[in-house]
Symmetry: D2
Subunit: 345 residues, 4 copies
Amino acid sequence: MTVAVGILGATGAVGQRLVQLLAPHPEFEIRALTASEASAGRSYGDASKWRIESPIPDAVAEMTVTETTPEAVPDDLDLLFSSLPSDIGREVEPAFCEAGYVVSSNSSNARTADDVPLTVPEVNADHIDLIERQRDERGWDGALVKNPNCSTITMVPPLAALDDAFGLDRVTVATLQAVSGAGYDGVTSMEIIDNAIPHIGGEENKMETESRKLLGEFDGASVSWHDTRVEASCNRIPTLDGHLENVWVETTADATVEEAAEAMESYPSLELYSSPDQLVHVFEDPERPQPRLDRTLEGGMAVAAGGLRSTDGGLQFNCLAHNTLRGAAGASLLNGELLAEKGYI
Amino acid sequence: MTVAVGILGATGAVGQRLVQLLAPHPEFEIRALTASEASAGRSYGDASKWRIESPIPDAVAEMTVTETTPEAVPDDLDLLFSSLPSDIGREVEPAFCEAGYVVSSNSSNARTADDVPLTVPEVNADHIDLIERQRDERGWDGALVKNPNCSTITMVPPLAALDDAFGLDRVTVATLQAVSGAGYDGVTSMEIIDNAIPHIGGEENKMETESRKLLGEFDGASVSWHDTRVEASCNRIPTLDGHLENVWVETTADATVEEAAEAMESYPSLELYSSPDQLVHVFEDPERPQPRLDRTLEGGMAVAAGGLRSTDGGLQFNCLAHNTLRGAAGASLLNGELLAEKGYI
Amino acid sequence: MTVAVGILGATGAVGQRLVQLLAPHPEFEIRALTASEASAGRSYGDASKWRIESPIPDAVAEMTVTETTPEAVPDDLDLLFSSLPSDIGREVEPAFCEAGYVVSSNSSNARTADDVPLTVPEVNADHIDLIERQRDERGWDGALVKNPNCSTITMVPPLAALDDAFGLDRVTVATLQAVSGAGYDGVTSMEIIDNAIPHIGGEENKMETESRKLLGEFDGASVSWHDTRVEASCNRIPTLDGHLENVWVETTADATVEEAAEAMESYPSLELYSSPDQLVHVFEDPERPQPRLDRTLEGGMAVAAGGLRSTDGGLQFNCLAHNTLRGAAGASLLNGELLAEKGYI
Amino acid sequence: MTVAVGILGATGAVGQRLVQLLAPHPEFEIRALTASEASAGRSYGDASKWRIESPIPDAVAEMTVTETTPEAVPDDLDLLFSSLPSDIGREVEPAFCEAGYVVSSNSSNARTADDVPLTVPEVNADHIDLIERQRDERGWDGALVKNPNCSTITMVPPLAALDDAFGLDRVTVATLQAVSGAGYDGVTSMEIIDNAIPHIGGEENKMETESRKLLGEFDGASVSWHDTRVEASCNRIPTLDGHLENVWVETTADATVEEAAEAMESYPSLELYSSPDQLVHVFEDPERPQPRLDRTLEGGMAVAAGGLRSTDGGLQFNCLAHNTLRGAAGASLLNGELLAEKGYI
């Protein structure tokens, strides 16, 4: 089976990662690439200023970029990936869904909408069936599925493992986020060399809300958000890729460090093509995980954890994931693979 | 009045900062500089590989470095500053105290000993009188006074302000620490470029214990440690100077963001020569304080805070201080000034 | 005497450095600040996102920014500094000169024009009198004076010293330039962390032409460019401030390393307020100068040299200057001080 | 055929790269790992603090590290790779050669000795036969072969291409070298963050001598060094891997930019297992090659060139190679493959 896919917003940092992941994909085949009006009509090699360490795939480099409208892309695409800026995504994604396209989107708009599935397949694949309600309510032939923010994705797998095993009452998290999370032009060098920025606009709120929706229960009609308290503090630091997070949790049942590590390591992955063999890897060395050394674990699709330690009433640990692979492009890709498996495309 | 001072461990990163601060000091005059056996007998300009942005003071450059023993330094020194490695400090500092020297030390040994004052003058100057007990018990003519670890100093002034105003029940803190905190050779470039390290050996424990001693009550005989819970997670990041910290507190009495900011800004400083005019500066811009922009506030002796936000049951804020000025050399210097003011030298 | 000055393009990286230098200036007083239409009408504190380590001067923060037109600034200004983008400078600076303003400009437009003085006061102050011809030819009451590009300024003082003493036949230079040279938003963090860029558009050409005009002879009517060959290769590296350069020269007369060092160290500075006491400082340690340690030498207004070594037919050396102080804002300021001294304002 | 190999100095930065390259090698099999006395007897996983992005190969992690003496390693090894510190290599390598081992060494000792082949296989494979003379003169059963310094290797392939096509009269080179070139602990973070160092002890001399030996003629008995003049200036910058170099050459015959690019691109590679398909890749974009984007070209074994430009009497270009792959571990490995092909093992 070949799934014909398109990428909305293909020239940006996440779009380039999508191209990198999709080019060798055994089932998904890139048939359309969209970008802003200024890029439309140019070759992808020309329009994207390719900034990834591995070379731009030749076949993709020669494709012509189109505008980001339903009219400009082929009718027979099975699936669209969207890595549009959220203000553009908000306008454009519903138009594609209405025109019948199924969209797996990394953009931040609509993530907390009641009828939009927000999924990390290994954690809450069942939420995908919110699509039924979405189609009913909106009258769409297409569908809109979201993955969460990169900083949320990093902590959700270990949190889900702890929640399943012990119950979660409270989460406190400080992040050390890489500059690629802001897009290619998002952080200037003068802002960040020999520096750190203790706030990322909107990011704290995304972590505090998206994580509770993801960990919530879906009853076939709606998602009841998890009632754990989540408090986040987000920092930008001078790393290129890989978000590192310090997490404190209070659990309902007591958990030893060994039990917590076991819960994380045994948390099941899926059989999707891009899923890691093991979703969460736990390091014993308290100085790991580190962004540069551990962000490419299992092709950048696993989450690394470490530094587990008991606290009064809970646990403390660190976690890390590659923010543009596991945290963005790979997250959208996994959702696309889930959509295919579930028969939505 | 001129106070004759010596620096034990004068060639290291903190020793150089002490030289930088002492050279223009109106009352303190450098009369002795000690280092390892290998440096003894050489000029300071030669033995220290000076790495500070401002030039090495000429007069100090020409002084001869001696060994770090009571016999090797002049008898008539009024005060010694110690920035020795802690394993050496542990051996050598008591010998100096026994020989009659008053030592203001930045080394981590003995900080939590019952009869050793651990002071940040603006916060707990009264603890200095533990010296009486120390002299009684140890039979010393000299005295040993400690300042806390750089990451502890950064958060203690805003915490003290909140404790005074509202009472503290719980503190959770994640740090983003500069490489200079580990000394000149402490962090290699290959460890930290494009990277972060989520653990600093011993540092979490120092923050969790020293802060409680500092915030404790001194009854004239001993210090009752504060019973607040403190949980720290320490990270090293690629910045040169300035420790940034994300702090969550639970307060006994409710505190609004405005009240908390007011408590911090109005927390009194002292009239010591090296004290800042205002101890804690609160930024309204949530992206401040930043290490590169704010670490030199008031000559590097003030603490910057920002990002104040209400949480369930408490407050969240960020704070920053220059780790080798306010957090180390400047901290020892302030303790020296306090010793002079209190008549201990 | 008080000189009333304005800054055209006051909110950018160089504009902020001009504010920093002018605020404490004993003779120059800021009376006007201009920026783009979007900033006009706002306070400078609000319109400029101040990014310098020292705090924004209070009095300047409260000034209102105006548009960059002759109509929008007061009539009675004695001197304008321009740090406009070159495409805007090209349009706007002549309009100000025609309206009678004397403009000391850091913008790259018109630097090699026949009737525009391109000056580094300590090197070629006499070229300033090209203003006479400029006024004749253009019918201006005002005047336009330029300083060279930051990478050119860095090498010109040591080159001028060698040229005076031995004659210059050939110059080959490789630069390691700081990100601030491209302006605050000029280099993104993803471009430069763990990276270097071996070309800076237009920069090689500027170094190759501007240096020859600067080192040329002015006969009262026109400047005969120096006929030395100059070949430059410009690299961007991950430093914040300070351009480091590797230079090879072939001299007409033979020069030993000692003679060359002596020529550099004894090259005269001027008595202008912002001139360094000694223009070129020569380090013996071959690992110096280094950007972080040496860029603030003499308040960032001196040039540091080092690594002198004989080669077949010539010499090799390194040099360094602070690119936004000595190389931009300070360069314009010195030209302003020269204009005042020469009676042009 | 399986070649049994050992690595002398296996725990260092280059030793780890050798392990990474050898683990999947189809013909070479790691049978011995040596290190300092302190590491002997420990498992490699324990003794090496593995710092490479890809995980440590399991089978190698379990091997026991031995001391670096001929007695401590198995007799039946076919080939030893040496990445010892040069002072230790100077002592130990001859002992291994005398004991009958063939050693492919990256250490800097003995590189310019008359009877020691210094080879980059694609450039001067014929020099390997110096082994005959070496064995005659030294009475060894084994043999010692060297690869040059990482900064030399980077420029030699494009220089060899130009020399073959046009003849070389003069080479001037400025380097921008990564911190990994100094080994894991070679450059501290405080030395290099926001900084650059304009001298690397011994490095300039290595580039100036080794390149002339490599480009020299071997007449079956000795190597006549190339008589081109080479002048190098070496800088350390804050990049992790990848040495970037700015090169100026004067050629005997005139060469256009197009002819020079053609000469580089068509310069033949070899059929050795680790040779790149194309030795030198020439970029048209003058902003390439860049360390982070281009250091892993062809698995880090190719050289990237760019920025070709005509100068008076010659050419200017930039080149880049991965300093611990192409420039060190991969260079030794290629020499090992050449030794196997030539029948020396």
